[in-house]
């Protein structure tokens, strides 16, 4: 796969992350490395700690212990805004788009560009430069949007996914996390999401894919990490294992231990 070029460069490293909520140990001592231009699938049953891990990396939660390292240096994220500033973008299952706003407004939401010039001009939006940037992003994704001035409500499901993912391109994100991206989708839309994720990966973006869907894993992932009860129990190469192996690791039946590191 084309992804191998920068595989040794890891963008994000998590070192022994732990997080406890009351009496529940959601995450205990999890290590993780995400490489540029490759897709890491994070699997696990409900309550295995996937969401907690995502929320730590996206700045929603802070870990009790453990570090996040970006390009080898320690990263302090305490809000989703910090995460975005560090080049970490999250694509939520519900896409988190404002249906009443148009495509460009959604892409730049919260980080609008202001007109260059004096103090008065800087109070106003620089629509032209944002639209130009948005056009580039859709060119890169290879997705056609009827009009950048169209509200999201006028777009198809596939186009909406492209808008959510185009944010990562506009912001030149280094790492994009997908939270159950295909859970509610049909076959064709799932294929669309896969195509978009491959485009991102081919641009050297590190992708963390949280999913239940074996189709996603075997279509996209370069590596698979399985969490169970807050611990990392297994790391696999999807080219050398079967869906059954992965399922065993998730559920913790006998065969799971064989491939554990």
């Amino acid at each position: 796969m084309s992804a191998k070029a920068g595989a040794d460069l890891h963008i994000l490293e998590a070192r022994s992350l732990s997080k406890r909520f009351g009496r529940v140990q959601a995450l205990s001592g999890v290590d993780l490395q995400i490489h540029a231009g490759s897709v890491l699938a994070l699997l696990g049953d409900n309550g295995a700690g996937k969401s907690t891990l995502v929320k730590i990396v996206s700045g929603v939660h802070r870990p009790d212990t453990g570090d996040l390292l970006l390009d080898g240096s320690r990263l302090n994220i305490s809000s989703p805004r910090d995460a975005s500033a560090a080049g970490i973008e999250t694509v939520y299952q519900d896409l988190a788009l404002c249906e009443n706003l148009n495509v460009t407004q959604n892409l730049f939401l919260g980080r609008e560009r202001r007109s260059p010039g004096n103090a008065i001009r800087r109070m106003f939006l620089d629509r032209r430069s944002m639209e130009a940037e948005a056009e580039k992003a859709f060119d890169i994704l290879g997705t056609r949007i009827p009009s950048l001035a169209a509200p999201i409500s006028a777009l198809s499901g596939g186009q909406r996914q492209a808008v959510a993912i185009a944010r990562a391109i506009v912001w030149q994100s280094r790492l994009v996390m997908f939270d159950e991206p295909t859970a509610a989708l049909g076959v064709e839309q799932t294929e669309n999401v896969h195509r978009l994720i491959r485009r991102l990966r081919d641009r050297g973006v590190g992708v963390l894919l949280i999913t239940h869907n074996m189709v996603d894993v075997f279509a996209l992932a370069d590596r698979v990490i399985v969490l169970r009860q807050g611990r990392r129990v297994s790391e696999m190469d999807p080219r050398k294992c079967t869906p059954d192996d992965v399922v065993s690791a998730i559920t913790g039946s006998e065969r799971a231990g064989e491939r554990s590191p």
Binding site: E99, N100, L109, R111, L125, I145, S147
Partner: protein, 405 residues
Amino acid sequence: MNPQRVRKGSEPAVAPKSIQDWLLKISYGELGLLPVLAALMAVLIVFNFASPYFLTPRNLSNLTLQVGVLGVMALGMSLVLFIGEIDLSAGSVSGVCAIILVLLSSRFGIPGILAVSLAILCGAAIGGIHGKLVTAIGAPSFIVTLTGLLVWQGAQRMLVGNQIGQILINDPLVISIASTFMPFWLSLLIVASTVGYALVFCIRRWKLKQHAGTAGKLGLLGRSMLFPILAIVIFLVLSNHLGVPVLLLILAILALVLTLVTEHTPFGVHIFAVGGNAEAARRAGINVARLKLILFSSCSALAAFSGIVAVSRQYAADGNTGGGNLVLDAIAAAVIGGTSLFGGRGRIQGSLLGALVIGTVANGLDLLGQSANVKSIITGLILLGAVSVDMVARQRRIRSGAAGA
């Protein structure tokens, strides 16, 4: 590089800000100002045939003054409606601030400009309390501002105290707000510069968007000239009576500032983002609580200003200032102007035009000697029409999304 590539798809390639884009929007169910302009045209035509006095400069001059109180309040109301909230207390707030102004001026002899500023600040503070209650407790704004309606109405009557009837004001500045007309040369200058600015704006855009084609240019010209043409007509008509009222200029400036903020600044995008999907706005790093606080505060500050305009028109305030149907008319004005009660949709100009529709109906029915009851019924029916148009457009919006899949 082909700048148009993105737009070529199953749907027609469109250039930004062109007539095609506009038609596309309408087909999506984004009707913009069309319904309210149609409603305004309709009532103007109907009353023109119904009463020979309606389209006289004298009556139209009256109309612009009558619409001031409602117009200012409707502008503030649209701000909270944009984020899917509501402010039922605007009438009471305008009333209590009107009393505060009158007391400060008449009882304590505070000069007009200071008294007006303090009254507006009181309004802003009251709105801040509403906003804080909505964001901190998470109480629905409907309940918070219903409480506000009762509390501030009570406060207003307590401030009026034992005095029967009205408290008069004779501060020259306050009185002049609604009773001064601009000199001919000043209104001419303003109208000319409006037209000039619109032309300069058009020419600059034309140069930037060579590829937009003739249709795009015509569309741009039509859009930019809408308000300058309106300004010319108003100017020509009102110059035949006493001139253009200063109140109309104030209203236009308020509407202009709010339009710039809501449609051309990042903050404006955030307002509609919160109205459309507050959770998505929060995830995008927008401080939703702060934004709501600012808007509730602005809404009440504008309500306070509408109370000041009412004082200026009546030379007095009493326990009923800001009462009656005023707050409901303000909500109706915004909705007739295309603002959605569900939040995330609407325009400032729409609310102003909506207030004009309601004001025109009231004025026209007065000329025909109809009672307040008839006014109420007709205004209600227009509101029903506006909501129906919005619901049909909403269906279209939902359908257009599904059809594109």
